[in-house]
């Protein structure tokens, strides 16, 4: 098995996902404001070396799956006063995402 190859993808467009609500040390590219927020996978972007590892001079392998996730602005900012249909797209690596069960109320 090629150690650089990506694992199987966990998510597909339309899946509801939550960004990990965690603040580990190290070089993390996930903005503070989006941690713990949920959105919908808009598209799969491909698999790329992990920038969290590249930042320390490692090869970033195995590659990680990257998704574009669409969030509702009103979910991100409690005091958001723009149109309620406003959204924000953010590209997030798979290891920061976990699935959200649609039927949980």
């Amino acid at each position: 098995m090629n150690p650089a190859a990506a694992s199987q993808r966990r998510f597909a467009p339309g899946d509801r996902v939550t960004v990990a609500h965690t603040h580990p040390p190290g070089h993390r590219r996930i903005p503070y404001y989006i941690r713990g927020k949920s959105g919908l996978v808009e598209r799969y972007c491909g698999a790329f070396p992990n920038p969290e590892e590249l930042a320390y001079g490692f090869d970033g392998l195995p590659v990680r799956h990257l998704y574009r996730v669409r969030f509702q602005q009103t979910d991100i900012w409690p005091a958001y006063n723009g149109p309620t249909h406003d959204t924000l797209d953010l590209e997030v690596y798979e290891h920061w995402l976990s699935p959200v069960e649609e039927d949980v109320s």
């Binding site: 503070y32 404001y33 590249l54 930042a55 001079g57």
Partner: protein, 101 residues
């Protein structure tokens, strides 16, 4: 805890969208960064890490000054040169320029 550079959504003033003059040293710095990448000596993520690790008083400096600080840290970390060596060379160049008639 939110880190200093991670300022998305924080209150901020208006953005100056006017074109501005780029100092020649900033272009030289850009060329150095390009050369380091070309030689496989550094990656964009490494430079970003050093920029984001700058203390607030340095992070608040203009864009290319931030780069200059981060590149010094990066070169030192990699053992390619040291901040002391860079500063000594800067002092030499400055003295030479000042000695010109």
């Amino acid at each position: 805890m939110r880190r200093y550079h991670d300022m998305g959504g924080q209150p901020a003033g208006p953005i100056d969208t006017d074109d501005h003059y780029t100092e020649p040293w900033a272009k030289t710095l850009t060329a150095i960064v390009g050369a380091l990448r070309e030689q496989g000596l550094s990656r964009v993520d490494e430079l970003r890490r050093h920029i984001e690790d700058l203390p607030p008083q340095d992070y608040d400096r203009p864009y290319f000054e931030r780069w200059a600080e981060a590149i010094c840290d990066l070169l030192e970390e990699k053992g390619l040169t040291s901040r002391a060596e860079i500063e000594a060379r800067m002092a030499t160049i400055k003295a030479e320029l000042e000695a010109r008639p």
